[in-house]
């Protein structure tokens, strides 16, 4: 099955709090798991990505946690800021290492309250 399931659909967090978004996949052939951030009227922009040979990757306030056995991965946004308010998509790809053919989750709309 070529699906990526994302939750929650929406999330409200206070400024300075931690935002957590979860994704689950079924296809064990997936080997690249990016997270994208999308603002209204814009295309998705890559935030951070991970491959299944590591369990965690951190870039600034953004961390991906990856659980290969559970086929789950999550995005943690530390010290969430109002400027982080956007829609976040997890995605997965497994076609020969190319970064095309991304399978996206349905998205999580994050609102960070001041």
């Amino acid at each position: 099955q070529q699906q990526v399931k994302q939750s929650p659909q929406s999330l409200i967090v206070q400024k300075g709090g931690i935002s957590i978004i979860n994704c689950a996949y079924e296809n064990t052939a997936f080997d690249y798991f990016p997270w994208y951030q999308q603002f209204p009227g814009k295309g998705p922009a890559l935030l951070i990505a991970i491959r299944p040979d590591v369990s965690e990757k951190k870039e600034g306030r953004f961390t991906i946690s990856f659980n290969k056995s559970a086929k789950q991965f999550s995005l943690h946004i530390m010290d969430s800021q109002p400027g982080d308010s956007a829609t976040y998509f997890c995605a997965a790809s497994g076609w020969g290492g190319s970064q095309g053919n991304l399978i996206f989750g349905k998205g999580t709309k994050l609102s960070v309250k001041p």
Binding site: Q6, P34, Y36, G41, K42, G43, P44, A45, L46, A49, F89, A91, W95, G97, S98, Q99, G100, N101, L102, I103, F104, G105, K106, G107
Partner: protein
Amino acid sequence: DAGVTQSPTHLIKTRGQQVTLRCSPKSGHDTVSWYQQALGQGPQFIFQYYEEEERQRGNFPDRFSGHQFPNYSSELNVNALLLGDSALYLCASSLGHEASTFGSGTRLTVV
């Protein structure tokens, strides 16, 4: 450094018409992928072009076709437009194992 450029930004078409959307990839990128993003949904893969050939295709009818030119730019054509084709059409470019860079999209409205 210019990113991915898409044109036009907005388009209104009538059912049954045909539309062509255009994409210029990020400098240095040789692979172009097209996605359809319905309102409130994640992008869905339409197809990918590399070396002027369709390399992979998602679950879209053959009303959706494309082309890649020698300069790596690409077009997406949709024939016999349906109301359900109304969406944001995103172009993404990449090179090898680098992450895909997305354009801001073309908002297509079919009336």
